[in-house]
């Protein structure tokens, strides 16, 4: 089933070239909806409580290098798959209502991108992961460069050069890992299971860890290596940006959980504080930038840096709670930021500007739009009662146990989030409408796209256990690789004591 899941979007994309021009959107939409259906089916099939992989596929691919076509899903990747499929269906639908010129290549690239992202989430072979990780850049480069706004070519080239700097070093590091481990494994193998079972010597782990961390941090982006973000965010077409911000950054965070923690445990412990510091710096910097910017895209962009800072520190608390929270928060943030960018597209259509100082009063005649945006905003600021609150709460519990200082500083970020999220909502929706603003209710077609995202946000707020319960055992197995000996305090444990 996951085989079909991966390749269906690409197949639909290729079909777009053959289909008659008028049918192209339909083909693309059916492709993404089919993928979403399959992702839901994977969820339904999922066996809760087991840490191992499910639905595995394992074929030899390049025997000379020991590269295998090895796929599988576990509690960590399960909901990221769903997030991907949901957002892609949403973005495709959203694009169809604003039909781009050169639609064939647009939808082909979207399909290729979805295949690459799903592949990265499912790959259980280090090289296969690197391949999908690099591959997803190509369609996004095309989409931003061809369909983007002003200054798009320079922005998109900057983006790809930045991200490939990381991922090519990661390629070298991946090969080095396999070659160095081949002595213990007995043959050259990139299979994550083999690499987990035969960790490298600490010295090699350190530099290889740095290469992997660089790739993932650039992709997220973390603070200091986020130079591509402002340009790319300004230039990207909004449905594409929604995907980019919501899903691609999660691939990087997922990479830490899937690869770095289990395969380089000693290096992870060694560099824990550095990564925590980067994460906390990201929270503060992202928040501060988010409430000084006036471009609404950049507000959302910098808030993503802050949110990814939270996810990073959750992962690098190296505690099951923190990592559980990080997994939950990945999904939450994906839903929220995807929704925000689609809403921004609607705001732009209503007022013709993305400048916060010139946006105003768009809620006057659009209560439904305002309500949807409000739910998303509350999610973004992690209001108690939303799943984002629970995610951040778990993350902070994890960090409090690990390194208490970082947790204190990170807590400030929770407060800052409230400020920038509400600022964005208030300035755009409230106050008097400006002259050029056309406060219009959300159309039925757009509502069909955005409402499911909001429904998911609300649903997760009511029942976050949907994710936490399924992710728990996989996350525990992952973090246990780093701390095999230590007793960990879990929320469940505390509850039981009480």
């Amino acid at each position: 089933m996951i085989q079909v899941l991966i390749w269906l979007p690409l197949a639909a994309g290729l079909l777009c070239f053959l289909a008659p021009r008028r049918v192209v959107p339909l083909v693309a939409l059916l492709g993404t909806l089919g993928t979403l259906g399959l992702a839901v089916a994977v969820l339904a099939d999922f066996q809760t409580g087991t840490a191992g992989l499910q639905q595995t596929v394992n074929e030899s691919w390049i025997p000379d290098l020991g590269v295998r076509y090895e796929l599988g899903v576990d509690g960590i990747s399960l909901f990221l798959l769903l997030l991907t499929a949901l957002l892609w269906a949403g973005a495709t639908g959203f694009s169809i209502f604003r039909m781009p010129e050169r639609r064939r290549i647009y939808f082909f690239m979207l399909g290729l991108a979805e295949t690459a992202v799903l592949g990265a989430f499912l790959a259980q072979d280090l090289l296969l992961f690197v391949l999908f990780f690099d591959l997803m850049l190509v369609p996004f480069w095309f989409l931003i460069g061809t369909f983007g706004g002003e200054n798009r070519v320079a922005a998109t080239t900057k983006l790809i050069v930045y991200t490939l700097v990381g991922s090519l070093l990661m390629l070298v590091a991946a090969i080095a890992t396999a070659v160095l481990a081949s002595g213990d494994v007995g043959h050259l193998s990139f299979s994550l299971a083999d690499l987990r079972a035969n960790p490298l010597a600490a010295g090699s782990q350190y530099w290889i860890f740095c290469f992997f961390a660089a790739a993932f941090l650039i992709k997220m982006p973390a603070v200091l290596v986020h130079g591509w973000l402002p340009d790319a965010y300004r230039a990207a077409p909004l449905p594409v940006l929604a995907l980019f911000s919501a899903v691609l950054s999660k691939v990087a965070a997922y990479g830490f959980l899937r690869i770095v923690l289990p395969v380089f445990p000693q290096a992870t412990v060694h560099f824990q504080e550095l990564l925590l510091a980067i994460g906390v710096a990201g929270i503060l910097y992202g928040s501060v930038m988010a409430f000084t910017q006036t471009n609404v895209r950049l507000i959302a962009g910098y808030s993503s840096i802050a949110q990814l800072g939270f996810i990073t520190i959750g992962i690098f608390s190296l505690r099951p709670d923190g990592a559980d929270g990080a997994v939950l928060q990945m999904v939450n943030h994906g839903l929220v930021v995807g929704g925000i960018f689609l809403i921004i597209a609607l705001l732009w259509e209503r007022s013709g500007t993305e400048d916060l100082t010139r946006l105003s009063g768009l809620a006057t005649r659009a209560p439904v739009l305002a309500a949807l945006f409000l739910v998303i905003t509350l999610g973004n600021l992690a209001m108690p009662g939303t799943a984002n609150f629970i995610g951040e709460f778990y993350i902070l519990i994890g960090v409090f146990q690990a390194k208490i200082v970082y947790a204190f500083v990170a807590s400030i970020g929770v407060a800052l989030a409230a400020y920038y999220a509400i600022r964005l909502f208030q300035r755009t929706m409230h106050n008097r409408p400006t002259e050029n603003a056309d406060s219009r209710e959300i159309g039925l077609r757009d509502a069909v796209v955005i409402a499911p995202l909001v429904a998911c946000i609300v649903g997760l707020a009511l029942y976050p256990g949907l994710i936490l319960g399924r992710a728990d055992s996989s996350v525990e197995a992952t973090t246990a690789a780093v701390h095999p000996e230590r007793n960990v305090i879990t929320v469940e444990g505390l509850r039981a004591q009480r």
């Binding site: 050169r102 999908f132 190509v138 080239t157 050069v161 070093l169 080095a176």
Partner: protein
């Protein structure tokens, strides 16, 4: 004193015989035809190449010494000659409308053009098999001399003549340097046979200074041929000036043959002093990667860009040689094959656009292709992405194998050099792709746009989509193969492993 002729295995040298016979046939065929010269000559040439390829495939798997050990029949040599044959077969349709082969107002010169092309292929076939210093040098000259002529074959274009002359001078300098080196090695080892040289060096019976000097000169001489920096200065100029089909052929086929010869000479004959030359080749590889990639950054001429890109790519491939292992040779052969596919696809598109637009080989000539001519845009895009080493292309796989070979031979820094070079290269490869898809079509060029070679106003512009089918088909095949081997690399990997395995007993 009597002369005993060496035993000759005619089956083994059958590809060489086929090519030689073919050259004669082409020359004779050309004399007797004038009206249908292109048809007849091309048919003869393609038949020759087909026969040579068929015979090479027939001999695939045999490993033996030919002609008293002057040549070595093995998969490594055959793979290089197959690459050269394939490149020549693609270049023949590319040259059909080229002013070099079909000058305005004079007799068509397909005969000369194709006979020279075949001679060069013959030289490459011999060079890739040579395991004797004399055969090595003779084959190298047989490869080079026709290329000097071909570069200057657009006689009424100043740039082409300049390019031919420049190539002749620099090439001769390279050959002379190489010859010095060969002489010194002979002086040190007392034999021209690779096997004997290896033995003498292994036993430590050779004078060190003589050998080292010889190795240095040989490395320099070959570096000229395969355009390794800092001996690359001729490359962009000659690539730009030469008729584009010749550039395409030169870029891929010369590299394949010369690299195989380089591997055979260094890894086999000089294999026992690997510690002496390995650092030198590593340094050359790094310089080449740096110079090629940085030099390509600001280029507006696509052919110059491909020239610098070729310098960088040669640097990547040199890593395979410097690894001095079977894995390294496998990676090299794989990369050579992949490089052939991706380069030919790009050059085919450049050739078409050169004739359709007034912009010559300027990057403006491909602007807006994505909207106007998707059938041209895709091969060029795939080729550029593959050269940049993006996944799902043979270029990614090739780099993967090269990096693996470097790490495996405990030269991880070379792997890092490839990675860093690739990052820089993205800036210019993607610039081409951006021009294809993201920019509007350029306005018609002024008559002498940028002094561009093919922008001769007298040149009749081919109407779109009619005459370029013969070029488009090879371009599409090469691009499709690039993607195919990027997704399913196993067939090409097996092929490369056979080639590398042929050298394994001597490593």
């Amino acid at each position: 004193m009597t002369f005993t002729a060496p035993h000759i295995d005619y089956a083994g040298i059958s590809p060489v015989i086929a090519l030689t016979v073919g050259i004669c046939a082409v020359l004779i065929g050309g004399v007797f035809t004038s009206r249908h010269q292109r048809l007849v000559v091309s048919a003869l040439s393609l038949t020759t190449l087909g026969a040579a390829a068929g015979l090479s495939i027939w001999q695939w798997g045999n490993q033996e010494d030919l002609v008293a050990g002057a040549l070595r029949l093995d998969e490594l040599g055959l793979s290089a000659s197959l690459i050269a044959i394939f490149a020549a077969a693609v270049c023949i349709p590319l040259s059909w409308r080229d002013p070099a082969a079909e000058p305005e107002g004079t007799e068509p010169r397909h005969t000369e053009f194709q006979a020279l092309l075949l001679s060069s292929v013959l030289g490459m076939t011999l060079l890739a098999q040579a395991q004797n210093l004399i055969a090595f040098f003779v084959a190298l000259e047989l490869l080079s001399v026709p290329l000097y002529v071909l570069c200057g074959s657009a006689r009424r274009r100043e740039r082409s003549l300049e390019s031919g002359l420049k190539y002749l001078i620099v090439g001769s300098l390279g050959s002379a340097t190489l010859l010095y080196g060969l002489a010194l090695i002979y002086g040190a080892a007392g034999s021209t046979d690779f096997g004997s040289i290896d033995q003498v060096l292994t036993n430590g019976n050779a004078s060190d200074s003589l050998v080292l000097m010889g190795v240095a000169l040989i490395a320099t001489g070959l570096a000229f041929k395969i355009s390794i920096a800092p001996f690359h200065q001729w490359t962009p100029d000659v690539y730009q000036g030469a008729p584009t089909p010749v550039t395409a052929f030169m870029a891929v086929a010369t590299k394949a043959a010369a690299f195989v010869a380089l591997v055979r000479l260094f890894d086999f004959a000089l294999g026992s002093i690997v510690d002496d030359w390995q650092p030198a080749l590593s340094v050359l590889a790094i310089i080449s990667i740096a110079v090629g990639n940085i030099g390509a950054l600001g280029q507006d001429s696509l052919k110059r860009l491909m020239g610098y890109s070729g310098v960088a790519q040669a640097g990547y491939m040199l890593v395979g040689v410097a690894a001095a292992s079977e894995v390294g040779v496998n990676a090299l052969v794989f990369y050579l094959a992949a490089y052939t596919l991706m380069n030919l696809a790009a050059f085919a598109v450049i050739v078409i656009r050169e004739r359709e637009t007034g912009w010559g080989d300027d990057i403006k000539s491909v602007q807006g292709l994505g909207r106007e001519r998707p059938e041209l845009a895709w091969p060029l895009t795939i080729s550029m992405l593959a050269l940049a080493g993006l996944p799902a292309t043979a270029g990614f796989m090739g780099k993967l194998f090269l990096i693996e070979a470097a790490v495996d031979a405990e030269h991880t820094y070379l792997g890092v050099a490839i990675a860093i070079g690739t990052m820089i290269s993205l800036a210019y490869y993607l610039r081409v792709v951006a021009a294809v898809w993201m920019r509007p079509e350029a306005e018609p060029a002024p008559a002498m746009a940028g002094g561009s070679p093919e922008a001769d106003p007298r040149e009749a512009r081919a109407p779109r989509g009619t005459r370029c089918l013969a070029i488009l088909v090879p371009a599409a095949i090469c691009a499709a193969a690039t993607v195919f081997f990027g997704v399913i690399p196993s067939p090409l990997v097996d092929w490369a492993n056979h080639a590398g395995g042929a050298l394994a007993p001597f490593l």
